[in-house]
């Protein structure tokens, strides 16, 4: 007796009526191939199910609970910066697409919140690109790594020439969250290619050298992927600034 594979699959899923089930079981007993096929169906089912089961143990994000409970989106009580969680779905997918295309790493929700909170975080959306704005743009254009105000929330890290020729600089921002990023000079300003949350205590106000700042691994990875040669030394950095970062 042979069965179409869909019947064996339905057997593995416990979807057969009693009579068909009995017929399949009789066939299984005499035909190892049928038994093997059913075992495969069951193994796949078990594997998929147990892998996804892990999601059940994860805490449900607060933003979803807030929606279901109908609570107004007030200030957060926990000390998690609202970086990875959009307070509500405010961006449409096409906008998302445009932004996603220009950025590399995670914290997408955070990026969008940041972009939206005008004035607080110095980045802005222009023509589908995320660009440095305000104090960040000014620091990227004007500041030398060796000459920075000690307690400024924006701190410039390393500067380098990318493989495609433009000047790029890493930076950290302390407020409203500890972030690290990479911006490259473009015709109309500094394009932020990577922005990721810095782990742990954030950037210490007195941190002077770039090595002391908790630069997110994603930024470091992006630098190693894009850098051509070595980072600029102080002299080369000053010279690049003198040319207004034109290659």
């Amino acid at each position: 007796m042979t069965f179409p594979d869909e019947v064996l699959m339905a057997y593995a899923d416990d979807e057969l009526d009693a009579r068909t089930r009995a017929a399949v079981e009789a066939a299984m007993a005499s035909d190892p191939e049928i038994a093997h096929r059913i075992a495969q169906h069951k193994a796949l089912r078990g594997r998929v199910h147990s892998a996804f089961n892990k999601v059940l143990g994860e805490p449900v994000p607060a933003r979803i609970l807030t929606v279901v409970r109908g609570e107004p989106a007030g200030p957060r009580k926990d000390n998690v910066v609202p970086l990875r969680r959009r307070p509500a779905r405010q961006w449409t997918w096409p906008q998302w697409t445009a932004i996603a295309a220009s950025l590399i790493v995670g914290v997408i929700g955070g990026r969008l919140s940041l972009v939206r909170s005008r004035g607080t975080v110095p980045i802005a959306l222009r023509g589908g690109q995320v660009m440095a704005a305000g104090a960040l743009a000014a620091a990227l254009s004007d500041r030398l790594a060796a000459d920075q105000p000690a307690d400024d929330p924006v701190r410039i890290g390393v500067s380098f020439r990318s493989k495609s020729g433009e000047y790029c600089r890493t930076f950290t921002v302390r407020q409203p969250a500890a972030l690290g990023g990479l911006a490259c000079h473009a015709a109309d300003g500094w394009q932020v290619g990577v922005l990721a949350r810095a782990e742990s205590a954030g950037v210490e106000p007195g941190a002077y050298r770039q090595a002391a700042s908790p630069m997110p691994p994603a930024v470091i990875a992006a630098v190693s992927g894009q850098i051509a040669g070595e980072p600029l030394d102080a002299q080369a950095e000053a010279a690049a600034r003198g040319r207004h970062w034109q290659p």
Partner: protein, 168 residues
């Protein structure tokens, strides 16, 4: 919203872990998956009057999530293709997505299935719905569901057996 509204909220909260699991089988990225769950909750609460007393709340919610996912399909496809080469970097920066290699492996495999097969597999294998329930959620006859499920499973099996795990 009256007491029935409160009941619905409680029921949704109970089902959130399962809705998140289902969404994770449809969308690889945990953020996207949670967006789908959030949209589902918003839509369910806005359309509470459409829930008939004889209707299973679970099936209704999973149906809303499925529709939300289909609605986003076009822009999602565009975005996924844009993000494709950046997956690794994205995961480096996202501990929530990168902790479980087995889950990532299955998510990657599921993501390569056509949408309708992915849905069938997610509803039956991930969520454990019966064929009848899954067919109702997808608004298709049971025969259509089973053939999509069979094809999805076969594709999944051949993808996964390349990397071991399931006997072939």
């Amino acid at each position: 919203m009256g007491s029935s509204g409160e009941e619905l909220r409680d029921r949704i909260i109970e089902l959130l872990p399962r809705l998140r699991r289902f969404a994770r089988a449809l969308a690889r990225n945990a953020q996207d998956a949670d967006d789908l769950v959030q949209i589902t909750a918003e839509r369910a609460l806005a359309r509470a009057e459409q829930l008939r007393p004889d209707h299973s709340v679970a099936s209704w919610l999973f149906g809303i999530l499925r529709n939300a996912w289909i609605d986003e399909g076009r822009s999602r496809r565009r975005r996924e293709s844009l993000l494709e080469p950046q997956d690794i970097a994205e995961r480096v920066g996202d501990p929530a997505a990168g902790t479980d290699p087995e889950l990532l492996c299955l998510q990657d495999a599921l993501a390569r299935l056509p949408e309708e097969q992915r849905l069938a597999v997610a509803l039956v294998l991930v969520e454990g719905f019966s064929y009848k329930e899954a067919a109702a959620i997808m608004s298709v006859p049971v025969g259509t569901l089973t053939s999509r499920l069979a094809r999805g499973r076969e594709a999944l099996q051949s993808m996964l057996s390349e990397t071991s795990g399931v006997p072939s």
